[in-house]
């Protein structure tokens, strides 16, 4: 498929993925010995994740959007991700035993090798390498140089690795935002460009709570589904910023950067745009599919669970596609469990937020 290399006979029965994984772990240890390191414990959807950084550069680049999930030292980590770069530690990643995909204009190909025991991912766009060990719940993540990483792509770097490991704990990275009030929230779903970020951030700026604008960790808990925050940043287009009344005093023009998403976006901490509104988890009581409509007043319509699932599942499943367990059954359980709505958005940001507040308050 694609640029996959032609077969060459192997001389051994050893899984080449596991060989690479072992080499990547040893490279991290060398980087750690040379540059020192930090261990940061975070909790995502009740699962303790240890992030072990070699040197300072990767920690400075990747940790800030996850720092709000810090959990101290309690409990034993279920997941451990070892993170290093070559530029600051002087240690290179092991050579990939296959030809990486070509960088194609406007595309971000990823090469993936996946078995029941491990998964290797190599991104052509960023040069990142992830080697995941499903047996032990561990991974090694590597970049050549954090300086080459676009400013608006730092937060998402560990997302795929986290997805692969959290899915083994029945936690599902879901392409959705979540906003609410008093701990009860709506999962805001839809493909890119449907208005998720605009609705979520507009609602947060109008005084509601926000767990995320783009990705949550969904926990299908027995008492009801819960959406957990993943990143403390949101991505804004210039158009959304204008609609939400966010001026250059909050987001400087230079922060909008065109990267692999092909649209200029700024990655901005929620705290800067909606101080005190971030919440690490919301009990999900409804599903809302926004639709950009430019109406004077928002229009809220109850839709079937099947239509809600169609708004929610394809982008999540396509963006986290793997040979491992699929998120689809968990997403279907959610669409069956809560009422689903389509919200045709108004240009009145406050009125959109009021519509979401009615939904989560049970007054829709």
């Amino acid at each position: 498929m694609g640029d996959a290399a032609p077969a060459i006979a192997t001389s051994s029965e050893v899984d080449p993925g596991l060989v690479f994984l072992g080499e990547a772990e040893r490279a991290f240890e060398r980087a750690h010995e040379r540059a020192g390191g930090h261990l940061d414990a975070i909790e995502i959807a009740g699962v303790r994740v240890d992030l072990a950084f070699a040197g300072e550069a990767m920690r400075a680049a990747l940790l800030p959007p996850l720092e709000h999930l810090a959990c101290g030292d309690r409990g034993e980590a279920a997941i451990r991700i070892s993170v290093f770069d070559s530029a600051s530690t002087g240690v290179g990643a092991p050579d990939l035993p296959w030809r990486p995909p070509r960088v194609e204009p406007g595309k971000s190909p990823v090469a993936r090798y996946e078995t029941e025991e491990c998964c290797l991912l190599a991104s052509a766009a960023t040069g990142s390498l992830a080697a995941v060990d499903f047996r032990r719940g561990t991974a090694v993540f590597h970049l050549d140089d954090t300086a080459a990483l676009p400013a608006n792509e730092r937060a998402a770097q560990l997302r795929e690795t986290l997805h692969l490991l959290l899915s083994r704990h029945d936690r599902w990275l879901t392409h959705a935002g979540a906003v609410g009030r008093d701990g009860r929230g709506a999962l805001v779903v839809g493909r890119g460009g449907s208005g998720k970020s605009t609705l979520c951030l507009g609602s947060a700026r109008a005084g509601m709570e926000i767990a995320a604008d783009d990705y949550v960790a969904l926990e299908p808990a027995a008492a009801g589904p819960v959406a957990h925050a993943l990143l403390s940043t949101v991505k804004l287009t210039e158009e959304s910023a204008a609609l939400l009344g966010i001026g250059p005093d909050l987001v400087a023009p230079g922060e909008f950067v065109v990267s692999s998403e092909r649209v200029a976006k700024a990655e901005v901490p929620v705290e800067r745009l909606a101080p005190g509104r971030i919440r690490t988890s919301l009990e999900i009581v409804a599903l809302v599919a926004p639709k950009i409509a430019g109406l004077r007043k928002p229009r809220l319509e109850r839709i079937s669970g099947a239509r809600g699932l169609r708004s929610l599942a394809p982008s999540t499943v396509m963006q986290t596609r793997t040979r491992g367990p699929s998120a689809l059954p968990a997403l279907a359980r959610l669409a069956r469990a809560v009422p689903c709505y389509e919200l045709e958005l108004s240009t009145d940001v406050g009125a959109n937020a009021e519509a979401v507040a009615r939904v989560v308050g049970g007054d829709a």
Binding site: M1, G2, D3, A4, A5, P6, A7, I8, T10, D15, P16, D95, L96, P97, W98, R99, P100, P101, G106, K107, S108, P109, V110, A111, R112, Y113, E114, L120, R191, S260, R262, S304, G305, A306, L309, R310, A313, P314, S315, V317, M318, Q319, R321, S326, L328, P329, L331, A332, A335, R336
Partner: protein, 141 residues
Amino acid sequence: MSEARLRINSESVVHETIEGEVIVIDLSSGSYFSLSGSAPDVWELLAGGVTAAEAAAALEARYEADSETIGTGVEELLGKLVEARLVVEDANGNGAPAPAAPAGRTAFEQPAFERYTDMQDYFLLDPIHEVSPEGWPKPAE
């Protein structure tokens, strides 16, 4: 009517049934599908492997309609499912017993098949190049 035994192409699709509608996501093309009307009955039969004739017979036991109407609807649906590669020939299968038909027959609804391609950009813009052990040790250049 084709004699081929067909089954769900579970190597590349994931699916869920909700409120009488089947949502199918094809991980190999980026398309997703909605099956409604009597199509979910056929999909349920495909889980165990089924021929067009067996599927039509099972639907005749459930619905009030003549065999030609049901047979044509089933054949058209299976043709679309095969063309979209959501189902494939089940060369070794013997079929599973059809789920029990409900006690009374109800009015027949034509199988409905809808294809959505609005997610294909994720697939096309961020393609995944699968590397298998068979295609493995091509040294990086």
